[in-house]
Symmetry: C2
Subunit: 513 residues, 2 copies
Amino acid sequence: MNESTSFGDPVQGPSTGGKLRAKPLRLDTFRENVILLSRDCTALRPERLRGVRKVEISARGVAMLAVPMLCDDPALVSPGEAGIPEPLARRLCVRDGEPVQVSPASPLRTLEAVKAKVAGESLSLADYEAIARDLAQHRWSDIEISAFLVACASFMTADETLDLTRAMVAAGDRLTWDRDLVADKHCIGGIPGNRTSLIVAPIVAAHGLLIPKTSSRAITSPAGTADTMEVLARVDLTEPEMRAVVEQCGGCIVWGGRVNLSPADDVLISVERPLSIDTPEQMVASILSKKLAAGATNLVLDIPVGPTAKVRDRRAALRLKKLFEYVGRRLGLDLQVLVTDGGQPIGRGVGPALEARDVLAVLRRDADAPQDLREKGIMLAGAVLESDPALAGGSGAARARELLDNGAALAKLEQIIAAQGPSPIDGRLGPLAHEVTARRSGKVEAIDCLKIATVARLSGAPTDPGAGVDLLVKAGDTVRVGDPLYRIHAFEPSDFGFAIEAAGEDPGYRIGT
Amino acid sequence: MNESTSFGDPVQGPSTGGKLRAKPLRLDTFRENVILLSRDCTALRPERLRGVRKVEISARGVAMLAVPMLCDDPALVSPGEAGIPEPLARRLCVRDGEPVQVSPASPLRTLEAVKAKVAGESLSLADYEAIARDLAQHRWSDIEISAFLVACASFMTADETLDLTRAMVAAGDRLTWDRDLVADKHCIGGIPGNRTSLIVAPIVAAHGLLIPKTSSRAITSPAGTADTMEVLARVDLTEPEMRAVVEQCGGCIVWGGRVNLSPADDVLISVERPLSIDTPEQMVASILSKKLAAGATNLVLDIPVGPTAKVRDRRAALRLKKLFEYVGRRLGLDLQVLVTDGGQPIGRGVGPALEARDVLAVLRRDADAPQDLREKGIMLAGAVLESDPALAGGSGAARARELLDNGAALAKLEQIIAAQGPSPIDGRLGPLAHEVTARRSGKVEAIDCLKIATVARLSGAPTDPGAGVDLLVKAGDTVRVGDPLYRIHAFEPSDFGFAIEAAGEDPGYRIGT
C-alpha cells in the first residue's frame, strides 16, 4: 500500500551525490538505463533509492537517469566505482576510469502526468511534449512506460492522440527534402507476407515522385520491411548515406533506426511489444510521428481487415481510419487511407528471404509470381501516384501497372539496391524443412494470419532471415487430405520443433466441405 | 507497433534449451528475477528472447522464470554459464557450478488475462487465482505487473476485488489460531505519526483478547508499524517465534515479511510503490488478504479522511468503507470500519524513533504525552474490545481507558518487547537538527500530512530510524512569526539538505489570521 508518497512530489533538490569512477560493463540491460552501485558506494546510499528512485549520472555535461542495481561484489563494482552497462555506457559515452557524478535523481515532473492519466484525466500538449522528451532521453523506467501505455489504452481522446503525435515528432530529428511532394506508403501490419513496400517504392520512384522510405524491423512479426530489404541490400544507412541514395534514385528502402526519427516512439514500442499493446491511439501516434519526422507530405495508408488481422471488422477499420485522418490532416499530411482485404496472408513466403523471393518474382514478372501481391502492389502504388498533379485523375493504377510491366520498377529496385550497397546477410533458406498437410479434403476458405505469423516466428524468422513459412496453397484452392499446405523452414532444431508443434496443434487453415 | 504477435499465444513447447553451470552473482536485481546469459550461450540463443520472452531456469526440481540480460564479458558469464543474481539465486537455492537447465519460457497463460483486463474486461476467480499464483512465484516481469495494476486501476468490479483478495490469500500460507476470536486492527495509512497499533495491541492483549499483529514496514511513508516497533524490539520473527510470543503474551507486533502471508500482495506492492498506485480496489485486496492470511476474525479498520490524507472526502471514504465491507464480510471477516479525522498528523513524532517515543509517553501516562494519539488509541482499542461477547455493549472505550490508565497496557507492551527480544537497531535521534519556523502569526488551521511525510522521508526515515520530523505545534495552537513549527532530525548531510529545502519551499502549515 502506498502511504503518503514522496514519488512525484515537487521536490527538486540540489545534486548532493558525489564522484565515482566509471566502469563500463559488457552487460546489456536492453532499453532501460541501469547503473550498478556497490552497497557501500562512497557517493550515495543506493539502498535507500532501491525500488523507488532513480540515480542521475553525469559525465562531461551529459546527464542520464538510471535505475540503480546493487552490487556486493567489489571485483565487479567497488565502492568507488559506478558500473555502467549497455545501453547507458553508449548513451553517456564514458570511458573506463573517467570520473562521473552520481546523485539521487529528482522526481520527474512528467510522472505526475502519468499519475493523472492513470486517474483517467486528459493530458495537455505541454504534458505530452515533456513526456516525449523524457522518453527520448530514456528518463523513464520500464514500469513507468508500461503504466503510461496501459493508462493511455484505457482512455485517450483524439486530441490527445494528436498532441502525442505532434510531441513525438518534435522530440526527434526531422528530415526535410527539397521537394513539395514527398510520397510514402505504410501498412499497419498484421498480414504475413504483405511486403508491398518493396514493389510500391520502385514503381513510385520510377515514375519520378520522391519516396524516401524508412521502415522498421519486425517487432513481433516474422519480418519487417527492413528485414526483407536487408536480404537484398544494406539497410542500416546513416542520414547522409540515405540522402545520397535518394538523390541518385529518387527513393530508398532503409531501416529507420539509424536516423533519430521519433525516438520516443522507439521507447514506447519496446514496451508495447512484450505487452502486446496495440491500441488505435498508439498506432496512429507511432506511425504518423515516424512518417512526419521522415518528411512525408503524402501518405497512403493500408489497413487490412480480416478475422485474424489486427483490425477485425469494418467498423473498427472505419474508426481507425477516422483517427488517422483526424491526426494526419491536422499535422499537414495529405493522407489517403485504404481499407484492404486482410482475410489471409499476401503472397506465399513469410519470413525475410521468402518474402524477398516473392517481391523479386513480381518485379521480374515471373509466371509463378504471386498475383495477390502483384495486384495489391499495383493498387497501392496507383494510390500513391494519384498524388502527382501531372497525372490524370484515376490513372494511377494503370500507370503503376505500366511501370511494373515494362521493367522500369525492377530496374529502379536494382538501382536502389546498388546504391544502398550489398546485403550483409545470408539469405539462403533454412535447411530444416517440414511440410504441414491438410487434415481434410475441401476448399480452403481462410488462412489464419496470426497462426501463420506465429509459426514463421517460431521457426526463427526474422532472426534467421532464411527461416519462415512458404504457403503452398491459398484461400480458394481445393485440397485433398494429406496435401501439403505449407512448408516450414528453419536452421535451429529447437525453433524447428517449436514451429512444427505449433502447426501441429492447428495448421491455421479453414477448409470447407 | 505490434504486428501479429506470438506473445501469449497458446504455444506450449517442450523445453529445448540445455544445461549450463550456475554462477551465483552478488548482484541485486530487486524484486525481478533476472538471468545473465552470454550472447554466445551454449544452451539457447538469448538474443532472440531479448525484450519479448523470459527464460525458464530449473535446478533440482525448482523452476523459475527470469528476464534474460545479455553479457559480453566471458569473465563475468562465460557461454557455458548462467549468471544468477539475487533474488533469483535465493529463490532457486543454487550453488556455484551446479548444473541448471535453461530454456525459452512458454508464454504465461495469465498474461492473456492481463491483456483482457487492459482491454477493459472483467476477470474470473480462476483468472485471479492463476494470477496470484504466478505473482507469488515471481513469474511476471515488472512491466507486466505494472500493466496489470494500471489496467485494474482503470476498471475493476467489487466482485473482482473479492476474487483477487480470495486468490491472494490462497496463494500463500494462512495462520490459524486456536481461538474463535482473533482480533486485529489496521489503518489504511497516510497520516504521519498515526502509530496507534502499538497502543491498541497492548490494551487488547491486556484485556485478554488474542491480537497476533503482523504489520508492514514503510513503503513510501517515513515509518511503518514494524519500523517503529523495531526501535523497541526485534520484529523479524519467524512463524514459530511469533507463535511462542503470542502464546505467552496474547499478542505481538511483528513484521509480516518473514511469514509467507499473501506473497502476491508483496509483489504487487513493490511495483505500486514507485508508481504511486493506490486505488481502493488494490488497497482492499492488499489489506484484507494480509489480515485473512494472518488468521484475523475480527478487524477494526481506520480510514482517516482529510484534505491531505489518502482519502480526501467523506464520499470517497464511504465508497472505500463499503468496498471493505463487501469484500471482508463475504470472506467471513467481522469487520468494523471507522472513518476518522485525518486533518493533520497524529502525535508529535514522525519517523520510527520519534513515534516510538510518543507511544511510550502515552503508555507511561507522561504529562506531555500527545493527547490526540492517546485518545485515538483508546477509541480504536475500544472498538476492538467491543467484539468481546463478555463485555457489555458500548463499554469498550471505557475498558480501554482503564487498561491504559492502570498501567496494564504498558506492562503488556513491556512483556511483548521482552518476548520478541531486544531491538537490533540504534534508535537515537539524528544529530543534525533544524527548526522550521512560522512565516506569519496566527492560529494553525491545518497541517499538510503529505508535506510532513515528504520532509520526514527526505530526512532519512525510516532508513535512519532516528531521522524524521518532530512537530512542536499542532492545529489549534497559536504561533507568532519565527516560532518553531517543527524540528527536522537527520544523520546524512545530503538528506538533511533535501529535507530542509523541501520544508523551505512550503513548511506545510496553514496559519490563519
